[in-house]
């Protein structure tokens, strides 16, 4: 995806910097950094995917065939951590880096050097995280939530994970501060807040969420670290601590984190649907308010992850109703997207396919979320495959599908070359079909009582598991199609893209040439 190489840079500016590898290490250009974020996140996506496929291979039939339970637990844990912190979050930051300055008419991010540092912390964290597989005792196997007391007892892989989480947290906080400052202070003249593309709004709100909750996660893992090595007893019952406290602190981070991973996806979809429906976004202001309400509500729902910890009934009721309340602003969004399509002149190019696929499958995940919010039902499905199905419907079909939608939508802008519609559509149809083959049966498995994070299962679960495993391999291999699509664009193998390759795309990013030159909006555009 290295869209802009120095020799393509022209205008009145010339790129006087190091070349080769040093160019990427020292770059402060938002487009270069965005590209690196996207490449990094895709590599992490593939590594997390390999872990997922190992898990599914083991679960293909009952009994233990491929991996031992200890290693299986490490795989489920690391798959979650790598996908959440290594793939989804950095990918959205990559989109923010590339697109936010272009969308608001700024020449770069507010703090270009800090931007470079935010990125280069990530490979360090990734090496710590993946490297923990190779230390004595292996990687942490406490689950991606790193629950105490398990996380207090693990081997040194846990310490590496704690430090990786610290580093990724610092990286995210710096990235988030950069985004807030850029969006608030760097807008072109005339670009008022309520004229900003919705992607800027969702990222602004997401950035505030990141600043508010990433430090809480850092605090939680720091407590684990001191419990492990420095004799404190935050979570140690014998020393007067309480393991349930960990869950409260973690989910105070964890639930806003869920929205950190989905709000930018809402933003991307809100850019794409108006373009291909050839109508302005329906209810722009209500979309902004809905995003803000989701963000605020996300701070008061955390204990719905903990209905089985023995909370009083009144507390369960509060968290149950607060959680269900989130369906209202989310519903506003879904209805607005549908209303945008209503009587539009729709065409289904690849980005639109992904975006409509997103709405369809994400809404299913939203509904199962609503079901899980009901305390008595949640107690039944807690820690079963029903929950696994639910969060993969919102994270894979939600965040990931929106990322692919955005990638196809802006690939012509990044590379200057149109991707192949055939390859893009093939990627979409393979993904959505195999996605449903993989995760839909998991609802039934969960309702029938199959627990998550267990390498073996009872015989009656065999058929659905075999089906899910076949789907998972199909889904995993389908993602290689994306590499073909991107590599073809980067190598210039395709139709040259116009500045605005889509018929009716709105926004400042389409006013600059494709590929976007190294420096854009040195003189701020005036927005009327």
């Amino acid at each position: 995806m290295s869209a802009v190489t120095p020799d393509q840079v022209h205008d009145d500016h010339h790129h006087h910097g190091p070349t080769g590898l040093m160019r990427w290490i020292t770059t402060t250009n938002h487009k270069d950094i965005g590209t690196m974020y996207l490449i990094f996140s895709f590599i992490m996506f593939l590594s997390g995917g390999v872990m997922a496929l190992t898990i599914r291979a083991e679960l293909f039939k009952p009994g233990l065939q491929i991996v031992q339970p200890e290693f299986f637990n490490q795989l489920t844990t690391m798959h979650g951590l790598v996908m959440v912190f290594g793939a989804i979050m950095p990918a959205f930051v990559g989109f923010a880096n590339w697109m936010l300055p272009l969308m608001i008419g700024a020449s770069d991010m507010a703090f270009a050097r800090m931007n470079n540092w935010s990125f280069w912390l990530l490979p360090v964290a990734a090496i710590l995280l993946i490297g923990s597989f190779f230390v004595p005792g292996g990687a942490t196997a406490a689950g991606w939530t790193l629950y105490a007391p398990l996380s207090v007892q693990m081997g040194m892989g846990m310490d590496l994970t704690i430090f990786a989480v610290h580093i990724m947290g610092i990286s995210s906080i710096m990235g988030a501060i950069n985004i807030v400052v850029t969006v608030l202070n760097m807008r072109a003249p005339g670009m008022t807040m309520m004229k900003m593309p919705l992607f800027c709004w969702t990222w602004l709100i997401t950035a505030y969420l990141l600043i508010a909750v990433m430090p809480v996660l850092a605090g939680a893992v720091t407590m684990i670290l001191t419990d492990r090595h420095f004799g404190t007893s935050f979570f140690n019952a014998a020393g007067g601590g309480d393991p349930v406290l960990y869950q409260h602190v973690f989910w105070f981070f964890g639930h806003p984190e869920v929205y950190i991973m989905i709000l930018p996806a809402f933003g991307i979809v809100s850019e794409i649907i108006p373009t291909f429906a050839r109508k302005p976004l329906f209810g722009y202001a209500s979309m902004v308010y809905a995003t803000a309400s989701i963000a605020i509500l996300s701070f008061v729902v955390w204990a719905h992850h903990m209905f089985t910890t023995g909370m009083p009934a009144e507390t369960q009721l509060f968290f149950m109703y607060a959680t269900m309340l989130i369906a209202v602003p989310t519903g506003v969004k879904v209805f607005n997207w549908v209303a945008t399509m209503w009587r539009g002149s729709m065409t289904f190019e690849t980005p639109m396919l992904w975006a409509t696929g997103f709405i369809f499958v994400f809404t299913m995940g939203g509904f199962t979320g609503l079901i899980c919010a009901i305390a008595p039902i949640d107690i039944q499905v807690q820690d079963t495959y029903y929950v696994v199905a639910h969060f993969h419907y919102v994270l894979v079909a939600g965040s990931l599908f929106a990322l692919f939608a955005g990638a196809y939508y802006w690939l012509p802008k990044w590379t200057g070359v149109m991707y192949s519609e055939f390859i893009g559509k093939l990627h979409f149809w393979c993904s959505i079909i195999f996605f449903n083959i993989t995760f839909f049966p998991m609802h039934f498995l969960g309702l029938a009582g199959m627990p998550r994070r267990i390498p073996d299962y009872a015989l009656q679960f065999a058929d659905f598991n075999a089906l899910a495993s076949v789907g998972a391999f199909g889904f995993g291999l389908s993602q290689l199609i994306f590499i073909v699509a991107v590599v073809k664009c980067v190598r210039g193998d395709g139709k040259k893209a116009a500045a605005s390759p889509w018929e009716d795309a709105q926004g400042l990013e389409w006013t600059v040439p494709s590929p976007a030159p190294h420096h854009t909006f040195e003189i701020p555009p005036v927005v009327k």
Binding site: G157, I177, I211, A238, L245, V249
Partner: protein, 184 residues
């Protein structure tokens, strides 16, 4: 342009302070959580229960099974009797015996649990060795009492209650263990 740079820096500092404050907030959740538990009386296992009604219900008989465990602790820990038959509302004393088999003084904390879980709400302990940490000298043996009443409001389908204690070693009172890596 320089005013914009100043504005940016000011916002950076403010957001940075917000991030640091939220790190502190994570730790502030700890005393906050404890305060909530104290106010609502949740999970308050270290304090004697208040017993209001000591009316004995002689028509009902309950079996209290006694169980003892240690967690990573070289103590011998057992109840002096395996079970007792009691009536709800009756004040009962039982004893546990614990021996420190190590050649150094060790501090432990016992944590009770109940089977069925619901019985925990009706099992009122007036005195218990689990209310405080127990420090045993090398080789010391101690007989420790538990004084309890089972609330007569206990649901009728419960006939047997298992009272189980697990002794944990209190961290920081011992040489650092070399925990086997990867143990979970």
């Amino acid at each position: 342009m320089s005013t914009r740079a100043n504005d940016n820096r000011r916002l950076l500092v403010r957001l940075g302070i917000a991030a640091v404050a939220m790190f502190g907030f994570g730790f502030a959740l700890v005393p906050f959580y404890e305060a909530i538990c104290q106010v609502t009386g949740l999970r308050n296992i270290l304090q004697p229960d208040v017993v209001e009604n000591t009316q004995v219900d002689p028509s009902r008989q309950l079996t209290i099974e006694l169980d003892a465990n240690t967690h990573d602790l070289a103590w011998r820990f057992r109840p002096t009797q395996n079970s007792v038959d009691i009536h709800p509302g009756q004040l009962v004393e039982i004893t546990y015996e614990v021996t420190n088999t190590r050649d150094v003084a060790v501090t432990g904390q016992a944590v009770p649990s109940y089977g069925p879980q619901i019985a925990g709400d009706y099992f009122k302990k007036l005195n218990c060795f689990c209310f405080e940490k127990q420090t045993l000298a090398a080789g010391e043996t101690r007989v420790m009492p538990v004084l309890f009443v089972v609330d007569p409001k206990l649901p009728n389908d419960v006939h047997t209650i298992t009272l189980s204690y697990t002794f944990f070693e209190v961290e920081g009172t011992q040489a650092q263990k070399t925990a086997p890596a990867g143990r979970s």
